[in-house]
Amino acid sequence: MTYMAYASTTETDQGIPISGVIIKGNDIVPTDSIRNNIASVGFRTGSYIQGDTLITSKRKVPISEALENARQAALLSTIPGTNVTPIKVADVKLDKETGILTVTVIEDFSMVKVK
């Protein structure tokens, strides 16, 4: 009986899971490099949102701080095998209902500095 109750319920006490990351606007930088960077700051499968906190397998971070981390991580994405970081503007939006994070980036090669 209790299992039936569990199986038919739609809500849990865990909050909203991070269900996916959508990346837009990138042309030269591969989507996977940006996705890996975003995942490393906590927006990955297994993380979830509880109120205003993002809970990952490693730590708990306030959502606002997590989003700023994600923005920084997107800016640090490189062309694989180089230290060239062409992403100059990044914008992150989190839909707290569905758990989908949308990352929009703009690349600009005229401002890239080669060290």
């Binding site: 209790t2 199986a7 849990t12 959508i22 042309d27 996977d32 758990g99």
Partner: protein, 424 residues
């Protein structure tokens, strides 16, 4: 005495420069092939890089998804001049420069080679190189012209290819580059004349160069017309390592049911575990062609809302099957996806409705918006006529009754005696 000392220093200096130049430009095969300069054929233009050297990471075959061009270079580590040349070329191409203008940017960086090209912009190579420029005109005449250093161009609107090939120091097949470069160029010309698509020719080039010239480590290739890349399929797993050898087996696949397994695990499999058919060995150059070829009836399926392993691949199969049977029908696609959630093929996602399926029929693209299930659940919630809270209460009552029964059973003698005592 003083004079000869000066001369010695000058000679030494010259030698050092020579060594530097030779080191930075020694390696690599770069090739751009254009078989349809109008850009209409989805497999009509391709580019690829491969080398005996280390560090053939994705930066050696950069592709622009939106503007349909590629920038190829050698994989000489994280060196400033090469990166400078790449960034300058990318910037020029992003701002609409021709392939020739963009590639000539390499000439301002010593010892660097940049090859670039796209279906409609032609192809060009600049800097330090040894190439053959292949052109095929509409009457089928093949022209193969050697060029080295400066700038070599395949003009826009022209069917043809540019292939650069040099041997890397330490390659056991050192010294073969000259001959293989020419043979491969002639082969490319013949294949373009015979009407093969650029992606197929790319596979043959990788096969011939890896086998005959030993410049065999990926690298990778891109389909410039459809913006598909081999990505990290063949690139080195770490810095200062070589990539996948392109003339070795990459996977084994069952020709009837499609079951496949990658090397090196596949050495243990001779027959398909599902239907017993003998497995076919897929070499890396075949895998490359397969992964960059765009098939006409293919449908690009994007999956949103879940990153769980296997969901996007399985969804692609289901959508392709559904479209083949019923055409682009959101309700039918949703129905097929839901039936596969029911039979456990798709795990960890909730049922979809027709409004969760986004169809763009003219570009043959389908987007599926999933909702992941909470709490690491594998199947969607049951749809019962009673609400889950009532079930919970009933469940709790059941537990309480059960506990009372247990108490009654355990203390039955005590209870019975106290009961009979009271009666007396």
């Amino acid at each position: 005495m003083k004079m000869s000392g000066n001369v010695l220093i000058k000679v030494m200096f010259l030698l050092i420069i020579l060594i530097l130049v030779v080191n930075t430009s020694a390696a690599t095969m770069n090739v751009v092939i254009i078989t349809d300069p109008t850009g209409k054929d989805p497999n009509g233009a391709a580019a690829g890089s491969m080398s005996f050297a280390k560090n053939m990471l994705q930066s050696t075959f950069i592709m622009s998804k939106d503007k349909h061009f590629a920038v190829l270079s050698g994989g000489e580590g994280n060196q400033t001049p090469r990166l400078g040349a790449i960034v300058k070329t990318l910037n020029l191409l992003e701002n609409g420069a021709t392939a020739a203008d963009a590639a000539s940017a390499a000439n301002s960086f010593p010892g660097i080679r940049i090859m670039t090209g796209g279906p409609t912009i032609g192809a060009a190579v600049g800097g330090s190189f040894d190439v053959y420029v292949v052109t095929v005109d509409n009457s089928g005449t093949i022209t193969v012209t050697p060029a080295s250093g400066g700038l070599a161009v395949l003009p826009p609107g022209q069917k043809g290819a540019i292939i650069h090939l040099r041997n890397t120091q330490g390659n056991p097949k050192y010294g073969t580059a000259e001959r293989v470069r020419q043979e491969t160029a002639v082969m490319i010309g013949k294949m373009i004349r015979d009407g093969y698509p650029a992606t197929d020719i790319m596979g043959e080039v990788f096969k011939e160069v890896s086998n005959d010239a030993g410049e065999k480590y990926g690298g990778g290739a891109v389909n410039l017309a459809s913006s598909i890349t081999t990505g990290e399929m063949f690139t080195p797993p770490d810095i200062n390592e070589t990539g996948f050898p392109m003339n070795e087996p990459y996977s084994k696949v069952c020709p009837t049911c499609g079951w496949s397994v990658g090397y090196s695990g596949s050495e243990n499999f001779q027959t398909c575990p599902l239907d017993g058919t003998e497995l076919k060995t897929i070499y890396a150059y075949d895998a490359l062609v397969k992964s960059i070829t765009s098939t006409g009836e293919g449908i690009s399926v994007s999956v949103y809302g879940t990153d769980a392993a296997g969901i996007s691949e399985t969804t692609r199969e289901i959508v392709q099957y559904s479209v083949k049977r019923n055409g682009f029908n959101a309700a039918k696609i949703a129905q097929d996806i839901n039936s596969n959630i029911n039979n456990g093929l798709l795990v960890g996602v909730n049922y979809v409705e027709a409004k969760d399926i986004n169809i763009r029929e003219n570009s043959r693209a389908v987007g599926v918006y999933y909702k992941a299930l909470p709490d690491k659940r594998t199947s969607p919630p049951w749809d019962l006529p009673l609400s889950s809270s009532i079930l919970n209460i009933v469940g709790n009552m059941q537990t309480a009754l059960g506990l009372i029964l247990v108490v009654l059973v355990l203390f039955r003698s005590t209870l019975l005696t106290s009961f009979t005592k009271k009666r007396r």
